[in-house]
Amino acid sequence: MSSPLWKLDNASLAGSGMPRLDGVSLEIQPGVTAVLGCSGAGKTSLLNLLVGYERPDEGNVVSQVPRNHALPVYWVPQGGGLWPHLTAEEHLRLVMSPKAERGGALSMLDSLDLVEKATSRPDELSAGERARLSVARALMADAAVLVMDEPFANVDLARIGRYWAVVRRRIAETGASLVFATHAPEAVLAEAERVVCLSEGRLLYEGTVADLYWRPRTREEADCLGESNWLSPDEARLWLGREEDAPRCFRPEQVEVAPADASSIVVQSSRFKGSVAEVEVLHEGVGKRRRFVHRPVADGLKAGMRVVLRVLVGEDGRCQ
């Protein structure tokens, strides 16, 4: 593994009442790293430390960002950080390297659906447009590391995937690393190689996305990347007929709920939620109830239906 971009050693940031960051020690590696956590978890505070916008009240943040680009670090702050007196195009031109193509700015604006706003100032843009302009400015800056704080907040869900593709393409072209904060597990799964999970200012997890998704150590870690079924060895034996040494997580796509007339498991209620469904089942043999999340083929489960629960894919995501 190459040397880390940042080393945080027991970094803390005071807040009103409780600390915003509480003794966080970790290393940010090159590549794409997501900082994940719910609102108030400390994501913005961590990113502010990385870009030097804030300094830790305790502990250290050591930057080892390589100096092989025009800029070591550039930033998409939570509020956009746009310059009120410049137009959208001027924002991009100001951060562009002199060697960059002249048409690059307009091309970037076009790819983020901002070309018609090229002559607009920030106060003439919508919240979503401002967020995209801030991302466009960071992408145009030839920086070794881009730090983005919830980069596509206020942007239509339907278009986010296309904009992420622009980010992906650009960092592949420039060889930049990316650190981004988000509360959306989908963005982490789709874009990041590594993930840092925060909860109430403390470090919950730091490692690869795959490990967190397939092999979380605790229920709290498992919940970071969305809904899951956390089962103790006894529960796994009872409901899934599997022998497990320790409690473990079964993701929705790992669990199949299939009709089976002879089963002693009876559906009590079922809620179809699109890509995930929630089913409450009763084990008549022991009289226990439990809720499972799974990937439904269709909205086919009804109350009173007898079902069997099976594990479809293993820890590595391969079919069993």
């Binding site: 030097g52 800029l71 702050p77 950080g81 310059w83 410049l86 400015r137």
Partner: protein, 484 residues
Amino acid sequence: MTLGQDYACALARAFGIAAGAVLMGVAVRAAIASCPRRLARLLWLVHIVPFLTPVLLVGYAWSRYASSLIHYPAWNQALYTLLVWLRLTPVATLILHFAPSAMSPEATWCHKLLGKRMGGCVDGWMNVGERQSSNHPFLQSSPLLFWLHSSGRAFAVAFVVVFLLAFGEFEMASLLCIPSWTVTLFDAQAGGLALGESLRMAAPGLLIGVALLGLGLWLLFTAPTRGIRPAPARSAMGRAARSLVGLYLLAALAVATLLPAWLVLEGAARGLGLLPETLALAKEVMASVVFGLAAAACAYWLSVIGCRLSGCRCAIAAALCIPGLLGALVLALLILALFQLPGLRAAYDTPIPLVVALTLLLLPFALVLRMLVSALRPGEASHAARLLTASSESKLARGGRRVLWHLEGQGKLAVAFLLFCWGYFDLTASAILAPSQMAPVIYRLYNFMHYGQTAALSTMVLVCFAVPFLLCGLFFASFRVLRG
């Protein structure tokens, strides 16, 4: 008039000026909020200029009319009250606009939507008296407490500040021959009254000032705040009301700035041939520049430190502001007394007492301006520009520095320039504390002004008032040359 009558008169006048300033401030703020952004900026500028116009210039220009009203003291009082009101209304508007509020406009509106459930206005207000427990939901939701937590606090603070400024006003009252406790006290001090006696005369003013300051600080710091208030939403002000406010703004600009400037310029034009004679004031101008620069630098530095403090240290910084808010006259007398104490007597008749007094006078303004600049500064945008300055490519680094200058540098320089101007144009503290060998030019001009308006004096006033702007221009020019 006795001193007691002077105090009573000043209290009544200050009350009227403060109430009028707050009312007009509300109207001006609403009218500006209903204008498009560019027009709103222009209107803010037009509104603030009368407050920034040096008071000596206004007093000097209107003194001729005041002397013609010598047999009509009521009219003279009215003229003086009008001029002070026009000068101080912008202060009320600024406080109403920027005073920290505990409640967002949306939160206030949500409370208004509950209006019918809360009962009528009178019923709602009665909740305060009827319910004894402060935890009772009816009490917490009473319109009075909501008003105090939202716009009411800003109204009260604006009233207190304008009242204090009007109550302690000296320069214009003196030039317009208005009977006032400040003029009586200053004349007595200048006439050789013992310092102890002067302080005894100033005691009621001091007590009133301290009491009102305590009230203002209590209002500001006892309730939770959500920071500097953002620009209000567009108000639905009628066209007629907006036209009236527009007329007021133009009239205020004309009366408190343009007309005085015209009178001085017109006199100076007649006395242009006497321009070389103003060189005789070069030493006094230099003294004023030195005092202004020293006090502005000290106040600015203290404000930078003050803005970084929190908790008890912040309270100490706030306490340091209190002497300055008591007014130049009371402060100068207190500093004079301080430097007559055995340990400090060595510094008496040196520039130190005046620099200390001017620093304390400027400190509250410096702190407020610095806080405003910090609060209005787009922090993330500044840091986004600062990151560019770390670039190895000079074009990017230069671009970052240019944006930083636009976002931060200009505001800081404007604050420093304003502080310098206030220090440079100070009369009261300079008159009492300036060392005998370093009389500031404003004090010299003030003495000349008692002999009436002449072309030569107008030329001197013009030159003296142009100096800060010339210095600022010189600074900008050299800054540009240095930056390439």
